[in-house]
Symmetry: C2
Subunit: 450 residues, 2 copies
């Protein structure tokens, strides 16, 4: 079962720490799964954390390191010199984790660590990994690989595998490469176990193998691994030479980040947000879109102030302003979200015009239902017939218009290479507020003849 | 590289079909990855699809089956009798896929398939799998397992593994169980390959193994597999007996569904939505929240109509109604999203009161900035000082209030076991529209003394 931590657990820990049991606690945490230890250590005071970690062996420390929150990890790494990080910590990490860790260090310290690595091959691998741009397959991959030659037999293959796998915790796949490191295919561990030891690899390996290049976008990596249910995906260079492999747990993080980012844009949060951010970080994440909303609100106020005439003649016009504005916003957000989600999940097969025509249908249908409902309400509430007509017709037009607008804007942004999720949430709501009110007053002038 | 399909590919396919090349096409598709064949077949006309599939061997057909869209698959299964499904299709599927397929069939046909399965063990497994509730570990697991006894040596273990693994495409883990099927631990394939054949399993297997019971919620399964970077997780019953295993590709689907569902609730879509839904399905997904918005709009209209006095005295009051309503909505959505996302990612450590106090701080800070901005605008635009004060103070109060409300409601829903994401999007926007206007007019009466 997974361990759950409560405030009580943390309080008890602090009490014991202050009673001088640091060494015992360090020992206990070394016995835990590093993910659990990392979770607890991320929650306690920095001073306490450093005291515990300084009592741990470098083995245990490097295991826990990657499970600490990123800002917490920075503080821990400050305790060590570049030489210590190179000799005690990096050596125990998988290459993808080691590269992530290095990329979090200041430039000078990063170079210091690389220069102190005894394993020259590893230093070269890490320096290469650091050159890959974020968001590409190269930045996701690790270089721990087990490779065999197609001319070997199974026995030699097992021997080689034992040697190569010695330092690797998990072997995800055995790759078959030619003498120039060009990827030919893969061999499953199961196959290796179930084939006679004299068999030549050439005869049994799987030649149908999907791979990506190091510059493939991470969203494409996600698409491929999800579609073909892959646990591990090899990465090659432009000549087809094997560089590394991406495992599905890294892809899970990419999926989560992508989903979180779209969710935040839809809710009007502009920065990565955590519930335990401080006041300044929280404000920085929220204020930008609030200011956009503020500007939109001022534009709305201008629209309304330009229509004092109708408002004075027919004060009831004001009653339905919030309704018109809100419905425009709601419909716009629905439509834009559908486009953004379809783009994210790669399920959008239609062109813009097909999509617009569909939206026109849905918008008209929903607009007619909502417009009719408001017309009935107006009739029952005893408003003038022409006034009820004005409100309900405005609602219909606003709903249709917001559907089309909410569909077209993210679609066009995406075409131009801009994140379509920018055009969801506050942006769409605000724009549709202003446009909705403009339509409302225009129709009122037309029907009621102010 | 992954294959991409364009409209042109599909048109060409249709042309060839109508030129009588069905058999050749069926052959070609059998050579593709079933995910690719499934994607193409889901896109073409039902008649064409059934023609191609009826030319395929049942092996190929069952491989492709699980890659078809769910509604498309229903049509394909209609072609076959329960007996045919049992004998030709189910037998070739993994048990988790087979159970999913059976659960999609009508009750009578499902029983027919089960009764025709020749493998009694498989029929029992499937019947068991079908009893697990959706959203639990039991519903996610497959029963394909390789199990060994701790008293065996490595040689016997490899032999047994070969026998058991014969029908399994991938071996994800080797589980060590006692004579009563109680799960003791696991043995990696790597260990098996790198240990001498005489070694007793007892001495080399990994006794630290995380497992869940079949009733564990799928979100908890996701949490555990993500936290501990697991590729496969065993499922046991209440006596600790091994029932099955969950692989990470199934968990990826759960993560995606959870994220999509939260995104849809935030954007006011109540049903699972696909961009290629027809008019009726699209309306069904969108109309409910639009009607909620409509009712909210009517409540707003009542609030405004109860304040005709202030509006007549000071028509400028109407100018800022949309701004006040919109800002309340924006802030409310931001705050509620943060809570929902923190709950989804299990990063919410605070209690409600801690959270409320934080929000109070952020709300006050943002409210002061926005309020000040509006006050300056009012001053520059030449509005009366007391009026500008009314608008800016209202904005401050509305922002603070919306922050608290947006935080508390999803938090309380979650405490009561209701999906907190229900209280994002249109619900929060609508509620804050009404409350914002109420606050606005109350403060106006107070300051301007209508």
């Amino acid at each position: 079962m997974a361990t759950e931590f409560t405030q009580a657990t943390l309080d008890e820990l602090t009490r014991r720490l202050h009673a001088g049991e640091t060494a015992t606690i360090a020992l206990e945490m070394g016995e835990m799964h590093p993910a659990d230890a990392g979770e607890i250590l991320s929650e306690i005071e920095e001073e306490d954390r450093l005291r515990i970690l300084s009592q741990m062996s470098s083995d245990k420390l490097s295991e826990i390191l990657m499970y600490l929150d990123e800002d917490v990890r920075a503080g821990v790494l400050d305790m060590f010199s570049g030489k210590e990080i190179a000799e005690d910590l990096v050596d125990n990490l998988d290459t993808d984790d080691a590269a992530d860790l290095l990329s979090e260090l200041p430039e000078a310290k990063k170079r210091e660590v690389l220069s102190h690595l005894e394993d020259v091959e590893l230093a070269k691998d890490l320096a290469d990994l650091l050159t890959h741009q974020e968001g590409t397959a190269g930045a996701l991959m690790a270089t721990e690989l087990v490779t065999v030659n197609p001319s070997w037999n199974v026995l030699r293959c097992v021997k080689e595998m034992r040697r190569q796998a010695e330092k690797q915790e998990h072997v995800h796949a055995i790759y078959v490469v030619d003498d120039h490191e060009v990827l030919l295919g893969s061999l499953s561990l199961k196959k290796l176990l179930t084939t006679s030891t004299r068999t030549i690899i050439e005869e049994v390996y799987d030649k149908k193998l999907r791979s990506v290049t190091s510059t493939t976008e991470d969203t494409e990596v996600v698409r491929i691994m999800k579609k073909y249910d892959l646990f591990v995906l090899p990465v090659v260079d432009d000549l087809g030479r094997l560089l590394g492999r991406i495992t599905i747990d890294d892809v899970v993080d990419v999926i989560q980040e992508e989903a979180d980012s779209n969710y935040q844009l839809l809710s009007g949060l502009s920065d990565e947000v955590a519930s335990d951010d401080d006041l300044l970080a929280s404000t920085k994440a929220r204020l930008p879109w609030l200011l956009v909303g503020l500007v939109g609100g001022l534009l709305s106020s201008t629209v309304v102030s330009n229509n004092v005439g109708p408002l004075t003649h027919m004060p009831a016009m004001a009653f339905f302003m919030p309704l018109i504005a809100a419905m425009g916003g709601n419909v716009g957000v629905q439509s834009s979200s559908i486009v953004v989600q379809a783009l994210a999940n790669e399920t959008l097969d239609d062109g813009l015009w097909q999509r617009i025509i569909k939206e026109l249908g849905v918008g008209l249908f929903n607009g007619l239902i909502c417009g009719l409902a408001i017309f009935l309400f107006g009739w029952i509430a005893g408003y003038a017939l022409l006034f009820s007509l004005t409100v309900s017709l405005s609602l219909l037009v606003v709903i249709v218009f917001a559907s089309l607008f909410g569909t077209a804007v993210p679609w066009l942004l995406n075409k131009r290479g801009v994140d379509p999720a920018l055009a969801t949430g506050p942006f769409i709501t605000t724009t549709n507020d202003v446009l909705g009110l403009t339509i409302y007053f225009a129709i009122a002038r037309l029907i009621l003849g102010f």
